[in-house]
Symmetry: C2
Subunit: 385 residues, 2 copies
């Protein structure tokens, strides 16, 4: 099978990820932070290893500012609900995933108002439109780093500077970029970063991260046992315990640590260059192909790792099925959980067929995809599909 | 190492758990429910497999009433916060874990009042005390099934009947019993059951479950992408999607399914009999040992799988360290995240040393533990430790 669905979950993982998950379950299978016996201490060390790997990759000094969560959605819910209160105003964009939009729509019930700033038809955003939407009660700006539909990159540095100028928190949804693009949290003016463990960071599913910058006033959304201050019936107020209740996914975090270590060893720029090369091939081929419409920025520098297309007027789900059944190519169709992004680029009905190559994708696989799409397009033209 | 910390996390797991986790990561590594390509469909089938195993073990017909969560704490937060609103009253017990007490204490800020009904010094509860605490605005009763400190069993059938009579929801925290004791949800009058995947159900960490009985009015606490109704910016209202946002821990759930399948194949009564036998050995030996105080019910039928002790007046953490370093025995000390339970049994200062055998614990291991405790007790008496 040719796997082109890395934007949903990266696959396969480096061998060390599998090994570390298994080793942790078999050898360090105790509950981290809940006792002082040897295996419990070893399990606690695995959490620290995961945090330290994150700190190295994202240039963060305090490992306890890296909070482990269930997934990016969990991180985003924590960041959004933990910062906002009744009467607050939020600014977000029309390129967001439902993991941002749905919590915000839910908060409308609590008199928290959202302004959705529109991107253009390439999925690109003018940071000035963010600034123009700021009100006296704006407490939070939330944007994705790169759209999961078009791959278009958001002007996050500019948005971050605007947020800083106005004393507004900036939450970055790095679902499509963490691990894939360099993110230097020592420099980037963002306050909160939500990321998945199982995409660009190459860890297993069931792992998410929220980075919380010092000084951010964030309520927890989940209380429970933390293995700390056990004499107290109140949630502890220190990091990471305040935000990490209940038993964490220790084997998953061991795998995540190994995934990040792989990236650090291999060199993030090398991985990036590989994906960009494959992306260029896709973009160049699809741009010139009859019957194929490619979405997102035409300028390759403004996009990353995601290639969304449609073939003639066919429903994207139909094409995904043909690619899977006839060519053994795994892509994703339909609306990618981002309805507003599809409205923005005009694909709310058709959806898009999304190709997302990964670190293990080869040149040959990309060529096979391009060939398949060409074939399908020609067959549709002569009505033989 | 002799592992006696199964109440924190069961270890080791059946081989099929390791195999299934690994196979899922390697072969079915796609994102479940997010596309129609072959591997995504296979990943979706794994979730269904996990749900079906749960349904078999707990006698539930609709697999979509089994909601996958991050851990028991996540399940409890969902159940508690999803049912309660401003002005409601909740009844709980003095034997609860902080995963119940801390969310309730947090909700006090929202004018949700909690009555904590006291158990006796053996950790046993009189269901009449629950009934006496009911008020017109009581919406929820939450109790553990078995205390994680004393192993004392709560009178859950009686409490359930009381809840039914008054039209109050009953949430059961099955953290210490799911998988260990038969729980027939076809008969038991409970409305919500929170359970860990990684304890008695023998799955990996990073897995939790919430059972939601039909008719329970439960708000979600996390919104996001569900792979369903992607055209909508609002959370879907059907199960399981309403409560399962973001990418689930598919490998973990594969392991959980294998853990439950192991229990089903082995026979839950056989596993129970094994643990009860070991427990009896512990209870009989510790009850007669000089300098050793054993907590919880003296009647073995009123307790399950957990043996908490203290040796003379020594801090439980000191004993845990001696057991770990000198005897290579893994136990848990201190307050077990249940401060009220320790107040109830009078161990708020000392904590308790907790032994929790598991399915793979052998008779010889229990004997070695008993011998070690005897030795430590004698040495403390003659002041040689």
């Amino acid at each position: 099978m040719i796997y082109m669905d890395n934007a949903a979950t990266s696959w396969p993982k480096p061998d060390s990820v599998y090994t570390n998950v298994l080793k942790t379950m078999k050898r360090y299978g105790a509950n981290p932070g809940r006792s002082s016996h040897t295996m419990a201490v070893e399990a606690a060390n695995i959490l620290l290893y995961g945090r330290e790997m994150l700190c190295q990759l994202f240039n963060v000094t305090d490992p306890f500012r890296m909070i482990f969560t269930y997934n990016t959605t969990d991180s985003l819910n924590l960041a959004i609900k933990g910062t906002l209160k009744k009467g607050d105003h939020v600014i977000t964009t029309s390129m967001e995933h439902n993991s941002v939009i749905r919590p915000l729509m839910h908060l409308a019930e609590m008199e928290i108002e959202t302004t959705i700033v529109s991107a253009d038809s390439q999925g690109l955003l003018d940071p000035m439109d963010i600034e123009k939407s700021i009100r006296p009660n704006t407490r939070l700006i939330v944007t994705t780093h790169a759209s999961n539909v078009t791959g278009s990159l958001m002007p996050i540095e500019e948005i971050g500077k605007i947020a800083r100028n106005y004393g507004i928190y900036y939450l970055l949804d790095a679902a499509q970029t963490a691990g894939c693009l360099p993110i230097d949290l020592g420099k980037l003016p963002v306050d909160l970063v939500a990321m998945p463990g199982h995409k660009g960071l190459l860890g297993p599913q069931g792992t998410g991260v929220l980075y919380i910058r010092e000084g951010v006033d964030l309520k927890q959304i989940r209380e429970g046992g933390t293995g700390s201050q056990s004499e107290s019936i109140y949630q502890p107020d220190f990091l990471p315990d305040r935000y990490e209740s209940g038993t964490l996914n220790t084997p998953g975090i061991a795998g995540l640590g190994a995934g990040i270590e792989y990236i650090l060893n291999k060199g993030q720029h090398k991985i990036m260059a590989h994906i960009t090369n494959l992306e260029k091939l896709f973009v160049n081929a699809f741009s010139q192909m009859e019957g194929v419409k490619i979405y997102g920025p035409t300028n390759i520098k403004l996009r990353t790792g995601i290639i969304s297309i449609n073939i003639w007027d066919r429903d994207s789900r139909e094409i995904v099925n043909i690619l899977s059944q006839k060519y053994n190519i795994a892509t994703r169709g339909s609306l990618h959980c981002s309805p507003l992004a599809h409205s923005t680029i005009g694909t709310k009905e058709q959806g898009t067929v999304r190709f997302s190559p990964g670190i293990y994708t080869t040149l040959e696989e990309v060529k096979a995809c391009i060939k398949a799409v060409g074939e399908i397009s020609r067959k549709i033209k002569i009505r033989s599909i």
